[in-house]
Symmetry: C2
Subunit: 692 residues, 2 copies
């Protein structure tokens, strides 16, 4: 419970001083400027008073209870102050002071020490190296933070790992006159965690949307758990930065390494239903709409404009954002035709033309809201100097207050008509500077609508021979690294994943015996870790039709690779399948990631792969397959029959179970998996597995 | 020459009235509010005076010369007024009045009539259905436009097909206190054209950047010619909207139809060196920087920040936008280490930390500008309450005034420090709300830098047998449609484009004779327009090794397609090539478009194709090949040898010549062209050509 942090009844400021450039002074001033509802106790052993407030030499000497302490003294003095706070019964200490974990080993020790001291007294640490917290709730009004953007009540709550980003987010809400609910920039996260804060915002009735800025996940599993819960009630909008350092990591040709750190964020957000944004502005714009508009029930948007050009831009952008242009019902069309001027265009976008007054523009919007074919409205409104613009705005304001469908708006105007913007915004309809913005926002809201409508995931029940795998992995104990292919195939088969008939051998006689069992045509492959691209090196021969050809091929290959004395693999040669790849990657402190993509150039050149977090539901597996760009290759092009994607989905779910059951699997690549036409299944042709 | 339009010495307003909601009144008020430097003559037969100005019953009764007339009376009265204006010697008439071409045939007739009348007197029409023009030049200060965004001097000029979009562009410059130079929204473009206006802006010394909004090109060839000239002197930023109606056109499987109208805009912009933007905001943000900053000489950006998180965002975004992070020289590093605080990070991004004052922040920027490894600077600056923020801004302002390298800036602040923004902007350094914006702007500037550095294109000189083709096309006169493959191949060969050995026949004996000439292995294909996907229909057999096999195959195929009595094609079967496709599409009133892409799924599923306008220079052809996403397939992956891209470039240039020489070629597809490894050439395997 973070009540005493976000709703403190009293605050003490250790490091309060009369120097206006000190953190302590700035925090105190912020508390005063925002009329904190409880008492403030400046702590300073050297001053009798700070800003006319009686100062106390230590927290323990404050005569009343203290819920929250803000600390901005030298790092090495923090432990002493905390002992004092602990004894006093303080509940939370916001440590602004830097010089902890972020400066190296010594700082890390100090950081551990202060958490220990706090926990000894049942106190919690917020920070260190933190900006602070804010809560605009008029009953509290706490600004225990040294930043500068003024606070007033709203219903968007923010938690930002970077204070600079947090300040930017606050700033732009403030600039358009939009308040916030709670704010938090938590610094080193030594004790109170980002996840706890999100959870707290989730439970706060007044918070309608949450903006999160993340640089690194301290506890990704915890985030997944909390976010999954919260997104069922309200949207979480996330900005994950620091993409580049990950992005520049060399991506080896080896498919497994496609699973980079950056994708971890994506799979967590996907699983938890968190909306990811790639710019601060996009996130802020969306948060504004989420805070005051209902969520659309579908993708069908209708655009209304009184100026043609921006209406066209709105169409372009809605389409680009994946929305659909609603088709107006004939009833709506008839209503509109009676309502608007002759020059108006009654289709989507609806152009009411610049001469439209309150009756025409307002009436059109009201009629469209009643149309069951429409899920959301995007309005473009230029304040034409020759019509009653305030009248239009008043109408839109009235409509906006009761609309059950989301409305977003671009207004083109200047100060002279500021009342127009005030009236529209006052009804909860967000006003943006550009049609493009309004369209993107609607798209985000539509995405969240889909998240809310997600069915409870259904997980297939399989009966794998888990004991077999336990047994097999026992044997590898202490021998980390890649397993022999034979073992990998056996493990896959234990989980019901079909593999191609295969034999591994060194001698010709073994091969010929195996060939009889496998049956022709066969494929012969050299089996050694020394050769990476086997095909190019001449170590793979496909479609060997009989024993004679097999003997010849074996002879050639043996001579070619005589130096490395390799083992060989003989497999049934299968014709007509399409190559796909699948993979598993273990994640530290989180379920494993599953990977799916088309083989060959699709993965190697186009990086056309999808990632998901285990466990995979049936919907996850199907969506994963459908989401690759090259999906038409599987669904059938040029009159080809569609591939057996159901089998692929089944294998993915079995893999998900395997990965979840055995955390010792560090990574696994099935490359290729051959999939045949619908009803004819799929089969693993090659697989690697690394154990830790 | 548009001087009398943009620099009128006097303006008459036909339709001026005392009704404040009339266009005439609004235009007159705008002229007055902006202190137009010449006399204004309201024309109104019913009033003695308008806004205390003596009114004249007609233009001809004005006692002095009139350069420009604004007309906003009923459409059917416009011709009479124009006759009067013509007799008076008026030079330009801005027709605001609507009800012309945009309302149908009758309006079109009226529109033609007014242009005729004007030209009879040597007068020019601007519009009709137009907003008007503005020129902020203090010696003129003309606001002959009925819109509302106030005007003050600047050096960005705007021409917008949509008045609503134009107003939005003006509005956002105005909001951040940025002036404009000239403005123009030209309506129906009956006479004075967008191209003329761009040309005029190009010649205006004070215009540093031009923003263009286009919905449809009236004269694409004219635009290409003008823009190509202007972009050598100053950047043209373009927003082409109405992408969707084109985008939704069904894209048939036939590759030729990939060349849609929307791509015309892209090829024109590419050829002319116009910077295309996909949102109004992106274009405005870039224009602001272009108007006051030098163009970067390269891609190497250095980021300076006093707050970590936004610095990371700047890095992410610079990378995403295709910029490079500069590596600081060791000299610069040494200088910085002496300058900044111990906690600062001296690498790129440089984090001077929030406690940095004028000396640290300003000094760092000054030192970085001297580093030859750096082409541009992106600054992030939060006004930390505990440092001398104005001092820092003053330093940055001083540096900005003389910098030869572009600097862009994100400032995180509130009104309290508005002087900070004023000081920085005053030096010409643009200030943005978000690091993402600053990064994107730098990327656009870098793109323009590359355009400026483009070499004069070098065109290969070929000696095609043009007469052959003339002869061949003469025979097709009057028979529009697809040519027989034999003729297509002959045409290609006349232009030196290699085609595979091919014979077309109906009878077995002809086939066997041809096979001897062609030599085995061969491929046999059914040749009929009735079968679209020949391979899937069993109408293609490859790699036929000898006469016996050929006879068998022919027998089977003849039986299979007996109903359609097809002709057959016999070709040399070539192994080991990679499939690419090429194409030509004729453009009305513009050079033809050339197309290039990889074959198969790349074109059919991923639409991975490039388009360019003829004529293709050597650089164009190479860049076209390099620009496809699947380019690694050609450059060699997994140890494969690179393909003969030089041959492909050569064929593309020859195709370009062919297309330019024969406007009768409506469209042409070479699909596939097989390309072999470097040095081994490429050859056309199949080709279709349609003649009009």
């Amino acid at each position: 419970m973070l009540d005493a942090l976000f709703k403190p009844r009293s605050v003490a400021i250790v490091g309060a001083s009369n120097n206006p450039l000190s953190i302590g002074h700035i925090v105190m001033q912020n508390l005063l400027d925002h009329n904190f509802r409880g008492p403030i106790y400046p702590i300073n052993p050297k001053s009798k008073s700070i800003k006319s407030f009686r100062a106390y030499p230590s927290v323990s000497e404050v005569p009343d209870d203290v819920d929250l302490v803000n600390i901005s003294i030298k790092n090495t003095l923090v432990p002493y102050v905390l002992e004092d706070c602990g004894k006093k019964g303080v509940k939370f200490a916001i440590v602004h002071t830097a010089g902890f974990k972020e400066v190296g080993e010594e700082g890390l020790q100090l950081e551990r020490q202060i958490v220990e001291i706090a926990h000894k007294y049942g106190m919690r640490i917020y920070g260190p190296n933190s900006q602070g917290i804010q809560n605009s709730d008029p009953a509290i009004s706490v600004y225990a933070n040294f930043t500068f953007v003024p606070m007033f009540p709203g219903n968007i709550s923010i938690v930002a790992q970077s204070g600079g980003v947090g300040e930017t987010l606050k700033l732009h809400l403030y600039r358009i006159g939009k308040g916030i609910r709670m704010y938090s920039s938590f610094g080193n996260e030594a004790d109170v965690s980002m996840n706890e804060i999100i959870d707290y915002y989730g439970q706060d009735e007044e918070t309608k949307a949450i903006m999160v800025h993340i640089e690194t996940f301290k506890d990704p599993a915890g985030f997944l758990e909390v976010a999954s819960r919260v997104t069922q009630k309200k949207p979480i909008l996330a900005l994950k930065t620091g993409k580049t350092s990950e992005g520049t990591k060399a991506v080896a040709s080896h498919t497994g390494s496609l699973i980079e750190q950056e994708t971890i964020a994506d799979v967590i957000f996907e699983k938890a239903g968190v909306l990811r944004f790639h710019s601060q502005q996009d996130m802020i714009d969306a948060a504004i709409a989420f805070s005051s508009q209902p969520v659309p029930k579908g993708e069908r948007v209708c655009i209304v404009t009184n100026t043609g050009g921006p209406g066209i831009i709105a169409v372009d952008e809605c389409m680009a954002a994946g929305l659909q242009l609603a088709r107006l019902s004939s009833r709506t069309k008839n209503t509109l035709k009676k309502l608007v001027f002759q020059e108006a265009i009654v289709s989507n976008p609806v152009d009411v033309v610049a001469t439209a007054g309150p009756e025409q523009y307002g009436g059109t919007v009201a009629a469209l809201l009643k149309d069951p074919n429409i899920d959301s409205l995007l309005l473009v409104f230029v304040t034409a100097p020759f019509v009653d613009c305030e009248g239009i705005a008043r109408k839109l304001g009235e409509i906006g207050k009761t609309s059950k469908k989301p409305i977003v708006c671009q207004v083109i105007t200047i100060e002279k008509w500021q009342e127009v913007i005030r009236l529209i915004r006052g009804s909860g309809i967000p006003v943006y500077d550009y049609a493009e913005t309004a369209a993107r926002v609607l798209s985000s809201m539509t995405d969240y609508g889909k998240i809310q409508m997600r069915k409870t995931p259904s997980y297939k029940r399989y009966k794998p021979k888990k004991a077999n795998v336990v047994q097999m992995l026992k044997r590898t104990k202490g021998k980390e690294g890649f397993l022999p292919q034979k073992d990998v195939f056996a493990i896959l088969e234990s989980y019901g994943i079909p593999v191609v008939k295969t034999a591994v051998f060194k001698k010709k006689e073994e091969m010929l015996k195996a060939a009889k069992k496998i049956d022709y045509p066969v494929a012969l492959k050299v089996d050694t870790a020394d050769i990476i691209h086997k095909t190019e090196a001449g170590g793979v021969m496909l479609n060997i039709k009989d024993e004679k050809a097999l003997k010849t091929t074996f002879g050639k290959m043996s001579r070619k690779f005589a130096k490395v004395k390799p083992a060989f693999i003989l497999q049934k040669y299968l014709e007509g399948g399409k190559e796909v790849i699948m993979g598993i990657k273990r994640n530290e402190g989180l379920n494993p990631t599953l990977m799916f993509g088309l083989g060959g150039i699709f993965v190697e050149i186009l990086k056309d792969v999808q990632f998901r977090l285990a466990p995979l539901s049936q919907e996850d597996a199907s969506r994963m397959i459908r989401s690759i760009k090259g999906h038409p290759v599987l669904s059938g092009t040029r009159g080809e029959k569609p591939a057996d994607v159901e089998s692929l989905a089944d294998i993915l779910q079995r893999l998900s179970n395997l990965a979840s059951d055995f955390p010792a699997i560090d990574e696994m690549d099935l490359n290729p998996v051959l999939v045949f036409e619908r009803g004819k299944g799929a089969v693993v042709v090659d697989a690697r597995m690394k154990i830790v």
